[in-house]
């Protein structure tokens, strides 16, 4: 968290706060040529970033391939069980091609990836892409639900605390935020399960049958507890971050100028202060989103939700090389895309940010 804060503050320091209204009085239109230039630059930037993704993903793929194959383990031994005959293990290893030199296996993988073929899981023989797509459903839904919850409540509580700085409301909300942010998520999850699933029986405590597969939208109730479990500690964290950035912004001179100009307090807070305060918060929220989609292993395990995080761990433990390889690339791609989207959101929040 500290790292995020420092990073975000560093980012913030480089930028002078945006106070468009002060510099561009009401009624004065922006130069259309300038606007077109900005749009062109933005389009160029998007295209360039997309093209850059290709070498990035290739590098990620190569590094992942090497790392995966350096871990000791042979899937044939795991499939055949601890009591299997060694000759049988050798025969299956050969059939699967894992007795070949690493460079041969790499070339074979590369040939497939160039054709966008990620292969099939060596266990269930399901295509890896469909396996990941199936798992991504729960993960993305949980991440969306949790992100909406913690962004809304976290930012709201953070702003209120910043405005009512040092009041009892600020102290109570910040103490509560710190407590929530410090609580281990599995502990929160198990307690929620105990209260809402085992005792009150309002919500299911385990599993997720899927909405796409069953066509039953009411299955979303299976995701309520996992969403809450992730959202509760994250709300605390986002609230503290927002408060901190908001207080920084409120103490800046352009806010004093805005107030001196006689602007309404709500305009000062929402139009001038909030936009600037949110830029670093968006960076954190973006990273959180990618993290929830890909690495919520603990929550997925506690609630037995078939998500991407669990698939990563299962693939590592089972040495399911094709699945693991594709998963790591999926996660890397997700981070690249989320960072890219965050950059675009910065530009929306602060039009002065230009990507040359």
């Amino acid at each position: 968290m500290e790292a995020f804060e420092n990073l975000s503050r560093g980012f913030h320091r480089k930028q002078e706060p945006f106070c468009g209204e002060l510099r561009a009085p009401t009624g004065q239109k922006e130069n259309p040529n300038k606007q077109r230039g900005f749009n062109q630059k933005m389009t160029d930037y998007i295209v360039r970033r997309f093209l850059l993704m290709i070498p990035i993903m290739l590098m990620v793929g190569i590094i992942c391939f090497l790392l995966i194959h350096f871990i000791p383990g042979n899937p044939a031994e795991l499939m055949l069980g601890a009591e299997a005959d060694s000759a049988v293990i050798a025969a299956l290893t050969k059939k699967m091609g894992y007795d070949q030199p690493l460079y041969m296996q790499f070339l074979k993988w590369l040939q497939m990836v160039i054709r966008f073929d990620f292969g099939v899981s060596i266990y269930s023989h399901q295509p890896v892409i469909s396996l990941i797509a199936h798992r991504a459903e729960a993960s993305i839904l949980i991440a969306c639900g949790a992100t909406i919850l913690f962004s809304f409540f976290g930012i709201l509580v953070g702003i209120i605390s910043a405005i009512k700085r040092n009041s009892w409301l600020d102290q109570v909300s910040m103490t509560l935020s710190l407590t929530l942010a410090s609580a281990p998520s599995f502990w929160i999850g198990l307690n929620l399960m105990l209260i809402f699933a085992a005792t009150l029986r309002w919500l299911p405590g385990s599993g997720y049958p899927g909405v796409i597969e069953t066509g039953n939208i009411s299955n979303l109730r299976y995701l309520i507890l996992p969403c809450l479990t992730i959202a509760i500690p994250s709300t605390g964290l986002i609230a503290r971050l927002t408060r901190s950035f908001f207080i920084d912004i409120l103490s800046m001179e352009y806010i004093t100028t805005a107030r001196a100009k006689g602007l309404k307090e709500s305009v000062v807070l929402i139009k001038h202060a909030l936009r600037n305060a949110l830029i670093p918060v968006v960076a954190v929220i973006g990273s959180y989103f990618a993290e929830i989609v890909s690495l919520s292993v603990v929550i997925e395990t506690v609630f037995n939700v078939p998500g991407v995080g669990r698939l990563v761990v299962e693939s590592i433990l089972q040495r399911d090389y094709p699945t693991l390889q594709a998963l790591l690339m999926f996660i890397a791609g997700l981070y690249v895309i989320v960072n890219f989207l965050c950059d675009i959101i910065y530009a929306v929040l602060d039009p002065r940010i230009q990507y040359d």
Binding site: P72, V88, H125, A198
Partner: protein
């Protein structure tokens, strides 16, 4: 007046008696079997495949044992080998020829009738490629099919454990269609080829989540009464689902709330709380498992028999067993538990000596000078817990233990390389109806125990068929086991499972449906 009262009471009594006699069957009728519902079980391990012939893992046989059947069945309520796909079998006087008469009218899940050709192709694949086929391979002469419903196995020399091996579900010769068996060879069956003759057929497998099986409407049950996994099998449940639930609390809550009827993998320290939970039946799985150290007898420090004996003298089995398994442990050193026909006290004077001083002296005499003893440790229960206690005892006695922790795949990969380790701790089922089919007897198993004394006594053991003579040979084997110390047994422990209570599922755990290593969904029904 008094007489009238007596008369009235008598009439009332007779009336009530008649009422209860008539109503009795109706009340009992609510317990009578009925079709419908979904059997749901939570398993704590990932299911790597459903190819039971190729995988020796228990977790594969849990669902797989519903799809596939074997010629004979040894997990029975009466403990005797019973027919399954074979109607009957005969063994020649010289014990070299086994003839099986195949049941007629049995249908595979693809609708084709089972014939001796399918049996031959399956058994052939198993001898060549099956997980446990290698044990019996040296004894096989040839296989033949004199007619459509007769199958014969010819041996080069008598082999006592053959029938037990043929009844083995996980890693044994399950019967599949001939074409599939021949095409698969050494490769794992693909899901579309999970075609057997069992009461449930393969439905769906969502990797890492669940396996779902549907009732096989074409199943023709045997006529004998249910006898454990053998006898008449009726699939009352429409479907059987095997869910992978890694978190123990989720499994416990699931069974408690009625989401699952059965769950595996409960740690021993949960036993007391399970017993107190009115919504759960704590199942101490009979017969117990064993846990042990495997030594690398091929290479490195522990190839020295004297050093292995020193470690055996050091260990305190009471501490190890109680620390890890608590009330579920049984400190006894016979390789097979007391409840099996292979229990013997031979060699047990060397078991549980708990004498670190003697261990130190023996190690010194063996030439041990404090070199690193590399211990491969799996990071899961109970291997990790056992390893910690063992390492502590050895360190206290002056052994320099190098604790190397891996996930299970890492342990399995490393243990196959004799230059990477000195010992590792593991656990598993010891209960085979015939000790001769124990996987760890193979000289190719990591540990590579292959001395002339061992091989000679084993040869005796597997080539005789008389029980008393075989028990005598097994006792001699156990003497060698405790002298050469290829493995150190800590003791026996009961696996802890949990089941829903009788008011949620019927017949589970009854005399005809004992819970014996594996649970199965047939002959069970909902109230």
């Amino acid at each position: 007046m008094a007489k009238d009262c007596v008369k009235l009471v008598c009439i009332l009594g007779v009336f009530l008696l008649v009422f209860f006699l008539l109503a009795g069957p109706a009340v009992a009728g609510s317990d009578s079997p009925k079709y419908g519902g979904i059997f749901k079980m939570a398993t704590h391990q990932d299911i790597p495949t459903l190819d039971c012939m190729m995988s020796s893992a228990d977790v594969v046989y849990e669902p797989g044992g519903h799809i596939f059947e074997t010629l004979v069945q040894y997990i029975t309520a009466d403990g005797k080998i019973a027919p399954e796909l074979a109607d009957r079998w005969t063994v020649s006087k010289d014990n070299l020829k086994f003839t099986f008469n195949i049941r007629q009218g049995v249908k595979f899940h693809n609708g084709a009738e089972l014939t001796s050709e399918d049996v031959l192709a399956s058994v052939e694949r198993w001898f060549k490629n099956g997980a446990r086929g290698g044990i019996a391979r040296p004894y096989l002469d040839r296989l033949s099919t004199p007619d459509k419903y007769t199958f014969e196995i010819y041996l080069k020399q008598p082999y006592g454990p053959l029938l037990s091996l043929l009844g083995f579900g996980n890693g044994g010769p399950v019967i599949i269609p001939a074409k599939i068996a021949r095409e698969a060879g050494a490769e794992m069956l693909k899901p579309e080829n999970y075609i057997g003759t069992g009461p449930y057929k393969f439905g769906k497998w969502v990797q890492g989540e669940y396996v779902s099986l549907d009732r096989w409407e074409g199943y023709v049950p045997r006529n004998e009464p249910p006898n454990g996994r053998a006898g008449k099998k009726i699939a009352y449940f429409d479907r059987a689902e095997f869910h992978i639930v890694k978190e123990e609390a989720a499994r416990t809550n699931g069974v408690s709330s009625g989401q699952y009827y059965y769950a595996t993998g409960v740690q021993a320290d949960q036993y007391d709380s399970l017993v107190k939970n009115p919504n759960i039946r704590a199942i101490k799985l009979e017969p117990p498992y064993w846990c042990q150290i495997f030594f690398n007898t091929k290479e490195g420090l522990c190839a020295n028999q004297a050093l292995r004996q020193a470690i055996l003298a050091t260990l305190n089995m009471d501490e190890i067993m109680v620390a890890v398994f608590g009330d579920l442990s049984e400190v006894q050193g016979s390789i097979f538990p007391k409840s099996t026909p292979w229990y013997t006290t031979a060699g047990l004077d060397k078991y549980n000596q708990k004498n670190p001083k003697l261990g130190r002296d023996l190690a010194k005499k063996a030439g041990y000078k404090g070199e690193k003893i590399r211990m491969l440790v799996g990071n899961m229960y109970p291997m990790y817990d056992l390893s910690q206690v063992v390492a502590k005892q050895l360190k206290d006695a002056g052994f320099n233990v190098d604790f190397q922790v891996y996930d299970w795949a890492g342990v399995v990969a490393n243990r196959g390389q004799s230059n990477k380790w000195e010992l590792f701790v593991t656990s598993g089922s010891a209960v085979y109806y015939d000790p001769g089919i124990s996987y760890w007897l193979s000289p190719t198993m990591p540990g590579w125990w292959n001395t002339p004394e061992k091989q000679a006594v084993l040869k005796d053991f597997v080539s005789i068929t008389d029980y008393k003579a075989r028990l005598d040979a097994w006792s001699r084997f156990q003497e060698i086991f405790y002298t050469q110390v290829p493995i150190i047994k800590f003791g026996d422990y009961y696996q802890l499972h949990m089941a829903a209570t009788e008011n949620k599922i019927k017949n589970l755990g009854s005399k005809t449906h004992p819970i014996h290593t594996f649970v199965y969904a047939w002959n069970l029904w909902l109230p």
